[in-house]
Amino acid sequence: MTDRTEQGADAAGTPKDARPIKLACRNVWKLFGSNAANFIRERDGKASMAEVAAAGLVGAVRAVDLEIRQGEIFIIMGLSGSGKSTLVRCMSRLVEPTHGKVEFEGKDLLKISDAALIELRRHRMGMVFQNFALLPHLNVLENIAFPLSIQGQDRPTREARAREVIDLVGLRGREQFYPRELSGGQQQRVGIARSLATKPEIWFLDEPFSALDPLIRREMQDELMRLQTMLHKTIVFITHDFDEAIRLADRIAIMKDGEVIQIGTPEELVVDPATDYVAEFTRDVDRAKVISARGLMRACDGSDHGGTVAPDAKIASFSASIVAAGKPFAVVNGTGKPIGEVTPQAVIDLLAGIDRSGAGA
């Protein structure tokens, strides 16, 4: 699967990401059932779904390979029971994988000592939970300062830091409130602030907005994007909502039955779904908001250009002006050199949902 998507990425013309790999899963398995570890070791880390079932095991996570790069928002998307929650818990070692490697900056996370793991979690990882997981007996300030207090920081230091992140997530004035006095959105802001208090490098968000109303969810997604433009964390974000994934993701991994079926940018998934299952998700997506100029680009045929766009600009951002202009737009790279053009007809076809073969990637 991974090979295929990598090729897909090249074909789509995305420049190879040069950012270092922060976290990687190498053939990670999580099987439930007796003697699961032996089962997978004997098969050298390879087993089909039928074999797993025949051995009486449940495969929550199967043969997952993925690499998450520093500073990207990597979304793991799947329906309930697809293993996405187990996978993210394998990555943070909340769940011990049955087989495989989880590498944090190239070091195998599964081999480090308990003390090292605690250090790692205290300073370099943060996590936000679906149902907020706030401590009911502590107020907002104490909840947010809690991870710092666990590290042994003194009260003035940790409360000063807590107040910083309280300002960051816009909760000033609520410091003395207890969780049950806050709305869901506010509670999750506390959860976010708490996970940011330790300045983590990698940030796990486990369906952070799924328990919220749709309008609040939207607001929180914007809030997350705002925070990310300031903080540039490496984000692993779990969701079952494909629209949310499309809105936020740099890259998306789609999971089904414990397996990753496809990894790619939203555009790649929409343009080139690996399976019918993926296609099913992408069918109702507003393509103009996902596909970029690069995706509709063709070689220049020498005609007049009505304007220029960047290769990464989404179609929706210039569709009105290109149709009004009635002329193709030149796609120019960073140095201002044209690398192709987008025609108004291609944009209209895309908006109307007409698929002329060859129009896509």
């Binding site: 996590m127 207890y178 049950r180 330790t198």
Partner: protein, 660 residues
């Protein structure tokens, strides 16, 4: 029949097989019963084969007593310090020095304690609770029970923290180590909660003597189990996300437990604390037999002398104390469950804790005043009043006017119901009982349960207590049956009418907090001693769970199912009988199970009013300090409870599994 059907489904055997097996089994037992003269060994356990477990236990206790007296003595000495302090503070006075230079520091003034009780209620539940709690204490003072009640309270106040700490640690251990829970904690808790209260007293009496300390130890042991269970439950109920969070925050195991899990479990823990307090109160009353003193002792003395008025008065003081403690601790638990609310914090202590500061101030001032004004030190005789003559007059009036009716009722009950059932039970072949119960265990759950049930039943016979066991079963069975007969219909009616529920709930809440002793007093006044008294007191005590669980079971049937039934055109009675009742049945059976266990506990205490069963055996052993006899009889009682409990639970689990 339902049980048979469900069992056959699970085991894949046709219903007819089990029907046949049961018919055959019953036939065999019936034959044994009829041929008792020729098959005597199967009916009455032969005396020659009795295993002298009692003697072994006695020998063991003797050995402990003679070899470990240094240990028991040091325990007594260590525990005596805080206990004496509490006793002096609340009930007696502090005395330093001897003879002429004795310096006396007074106990807390009753005025101050009443005010503190009011403020405590006020702090956790506003004025209404404050009035109730303060009123209960004032009642105790004005009815002249102050010193006794404070003795009782002092014992509780030392035993309860001990229970909480022990229970917390045992619960944590069981939660951390599943093997410990399965092999040690769970069986120990089951045994502790089914061994009758009396049986606890005997070894304590033997090891620690007739003193408040041994009463306190018995109380502490008896009252600890709910705390263990609450801790286990609370910890296992902490949402897994909170658990994950503590890991991700980098908590060490200790930080996780003490700073995350236990605080998150606090609402459940507080429910445990409430139960501990109530059980401790119950036990302190009973432990008056081994030197606890206090209200229980007053009741005991009055009952022995058949002074019903005095017994009633002391009993009502127990009720007042029970209600005050229960409502107070429940309000605290309730506040915890609701969660915290922010408020302005003030750095000044007395502004931050105005109630606490005021309470301390009042206690200090009134106690100091007590040095000069005797009215503050002790409740002045002039303002106390007694209702004892009133009660006595009332009882006399009832006995004079209704003697014939009551006597006729009593005799009819004895002749027509109690005696025949008793004869049947006592003649029941022990081998038959072992066989039938084992068969039921096998059908409900399998070989393990069958072996457990049969083994425990056989214990009662093998130790030579078969007849007394069956006497207990008979009285407990009849009482539980009548309690269900009364309780289930009331529960059903309450579940169908919110108005009735509003009336029933406070009544059963109050019945539940009353120490078992209190139930005996009014019944003894009317029916004197004997099986009828025991039965009526037991029914009153054991009726609560039957009502509560039935009501709750019916009410928790999902509304969607009732709507579905209505939409499919069920009449109200069809909805009730074909949807609500079957779905609520497991819950109702749980209530029946509880009723049986409570009836068993109460029947044993009724030994005081002259029953002739295992309870009496323990009671006699207590007065003779015969540890072997008492402990073995106590175990036999516990085993009856465990057998009933396991069979019922297996059945309920099966019914639940079938309903999904």
């Amino acid at each position: 029949m339902t049980a048979t059907a469900s069992a056959s489904e699970a085991r894949g055997r046709p219903v007819q097989v089990w029907l046949l097996v049961w018919t055959l089994a019953l036939a065999i037992v019936l034959v044994t019963f009829l041929l008792q003269d020729s098959l005597l060994w199967a009916v009455n356990y032969p005396d020659s084969a009795v295993v002298p477990v009692a003697d072994w236990v006695s020998a063991l206790m003797r050995w402990i007593k003679s070899n470990l007296s240094w240990l028991t003595r040091s325990i007594t000495a260590v525990l005596g310090v805080p206990l004496d302090f509490a006793l002096n503070l609340l009930a007696k006075n502090f005395k330093f020095g001897h003879g002429a230079d004795t310096v006396i520091l007074p106990r807390l003034s009753w005025v101050g304690v009443c005010a503190a009780a009011f403020l405590a209620g006020h702090a956790v539940g506003r004025r209404k609770l404050g009035m109730l709690v303060g009123g209960c204490f004032l009642y105790i003072a004005l009815f002249g029970q102050w010193t006794s009640a404070m003795l009782t309270l002092a014992l509780i106040s030392i035993a309860v923290p001990f229970c909480i700490v022990t229970g917390l640690f045992a619960g944590i251990w069981a939660w951390r180590k599943p093997w410990a829970e399965r092999l040690i904690i769970s069986p120990a808790l089951d045994l502790m909660q089914t061994i009758p209260t009396f049986a606890y007293l005997i070894p304590m009496l033997l090891l620690f003597g007739n003193s408040p300390v041994s009463a306190m130890i018995a109380t502490a042991i008896f009252a600890t189990p709910p705390m263990v269970r609450a801790t286990m439950l609370g910890l296992s109920r902490v949402p897994s996300e909170i658990d994950d969070f503590s890991e991700m925050a980098g908590c060490t195991a200790r930080q996780k437990l003490w700073r995350v899990l236990l605080p998150s479990a606090r609402p459940t823990l507080m429910v445990g604390v409430n139960q501990v307090i109530m059980l401790a109160l119950n036990m302190v009353i009973i432990a008056s037999m081994i030197g606890a003193g206090g209200l229980g002792y007053d009741v005991l003395l009055a009952l022995r002398a058949l002074k019903v008025g005095e017994a009633m008065e002391a009993g009502l003081a127990i009720v007042a104390l029970a209600i005050a403690l229960d409502r107070l601790s429940q309000a605290i638990a309730h506040n915890n469950a609701k969660g915290h609310v922010h408020q302005e914090t003030n750095p000044v202590f007395w502004r931050r804790y105005p109630n606490l500061t005021l309470a301390i101030a009042i206690l200090v001032v009134t106690t100091l005043l007590g040095l000069f004004v005797p009215a503050f030190a002790a409740v002045p005789k002039a303002i106390t009043f007694t209702t004892a003559p009133l009660w006595k007059a009332a009882v006399n009036w009832v006995t004079i006017n209704f003697f014939d009716v009551i006597e006729a009722f009593r005799v009819a009950l004895i002749l027509n119901v109690l005696n025949p059932v008793r004869a049947f039970c006592e003649g029941f072949p022990w081998l038959g009982a072992v066989f039938l119960l084992g068969l039921a265990g096998y059908q409900l759950s399998g070989l393990r349960l069958a072996a457990l049930v049969a083994g425990l039943t056989a214990f009662c016979a093998v130790t030579g207590l078969w007849e007394k066991t069956m006497a207990t079963v008979y009285l407990c069975g009849i009482s539980a049956f009548i309690a269900c007969l009364i309780g289930i219909p009331i529960g059903l009616m309450a579940s169908r009418s919110d108005r009735l529920e509003k009336i029933v709930t406070p009544v059963i809440d109050t019945l539940q907090v009353l120490p078992s002793f209190c139930f005996i007093i009014p019944v003894v006044m009317l029916f004197r001693v004997g099986d009828v008294t025991a039965m009526i007191a037991t029914v009153a005590f054991a009726v609560v769970p039957a009502i509560r669980y039935t009501n709750h079971g019916i009410r928790q049937v999902p509304p969607a199912l009732i709507e579905a039934a209505k939409v499919s055109g069920c009449t109200p009675s069809q909805t009730f009988f074909r949807v609500q009742l079957p779905l609520a049945l497991p819950e109702i059976m749980l209530g029946v199970n509880q009723t049986i266990l409570m009836a068993l506990a109460m029947i044993i205490i009724c030994a005081m009013v002259g029953t002739r069963d295992l309870g009496q055996e323990v009671f006699i052993a207590l007065s003779k300090a015969d540890s072997g006899r008492g402990i073995v009889a106590g175990l036999a009682i516990a085993f009856i409870g465990i057998v009933a409990d396991r069979l019922f639970n297996a059945w309920t689990a099966k019914a639940r599994a079938r309903l999904g």
